[in-house]
Amino acid sequence: MDNILDTLKAKYTYVTPRPSADHPAVNVPADRLREFATHLRDEHGYSMLLDVCGVDWDKEQPRFGVVYHFYHGARKLFLRVATLAPDDADPIVPSLADLYPSADWAEREAYDMVGVRFAGHPNLKRILMWEGYPYFPLRKEFPLAGIETELPAADTAAATGAKVISAPMMGGPFFAATEDKHHMSDAEPRANDQSWTEDKPKPGQRG
């Protein structure tokens, strides 16, 4: 395992090792990412791209990054490659969709959820949320309950008056209590703050 890291470090000067609890991991600058992925695929046998995750590092600079997991089919090895998007206002990293076809949908999901754009992607549009949704839901400033906005279908909204609402959290998020609950029916999911429900308004708020 270690000799892969050493090989990569010796061969490519822009690669820096990355702390990892499991698989070997490296940092690569965004402008060398395509070059590095091409080498990984053609020379080092990492034939498969398993996952592309967009990351929001919140307060850190640069704020947005992308983490890739590559797989060596013959030797059954994983390799984690992390990169950072230099511009916080418009995070862009190069697309790997033409090198690894599996990157296509994964990059669309990362774009949809975190808002990292992938330069050179053949069809970079939302994959989970609907077209025209104004937010990126997995960014740190986005609340879990969501933000009120228009329903994707104008005719349904006109007929029913329904909107995309901020979900009522009712003291949530919900979790299953496990300590000294020996029966499943006692360990039903419940909210941290049980003082307010659908019937009782939140303390200090008008119902």
Binding site: M129, G146, P152, T156, T160, A167, F174
Partner: protein, 179 residues
Amino acid sequence: MVSSTEFAYNSKVEGEIVVSQADAVVNWVRRHSVWPMPMGLACCAIELMASGGARFDISRFGMEVMRFSPRQSDCMIVAGTVTYKMAEVVRRIYEQMAAPKWVVAMGACASTGGMYRSYAVLQGVDRIVPVDIYISGCPPRPEALLDGMMLLQEKIRKEPGATGLFRPRPNEPVVVGAK
């Protein structure tokens, strides 16, 4: 087995005529031929399928004819999580169903959004379609679904029949399992 009480129509006593009200007959027919539109969106659909199987046998209530075309069905069983992206599809299918039509919200997600207090999930299908029966459970067992469908039958029995066909239908929810 000999029974001393006559419950059913007896041709020897009543001849070949049954006297009833038109509304009662219409409602009796509707009640026993509810054709569901299986709007299976998540794991509740598995329980819905189990209800159609031999063990639970929804056909005992005349509801085994699951129609995948809204134009041939009476009752939309919303079985599962309705996302905002799917909401327009649910609404459009509901609109294509011929009146009289009913909606059953099966399970926690369809009734209230359930555990998905989230930016992506519609917080209850009653925001876009009028729901007649809410069934609790995550997912509800087939018995709970059958209980809900029997409550729906009871609701249809009390409806004003043909006279109310083209009037806007009041939305009076019945909650299965409510005390």
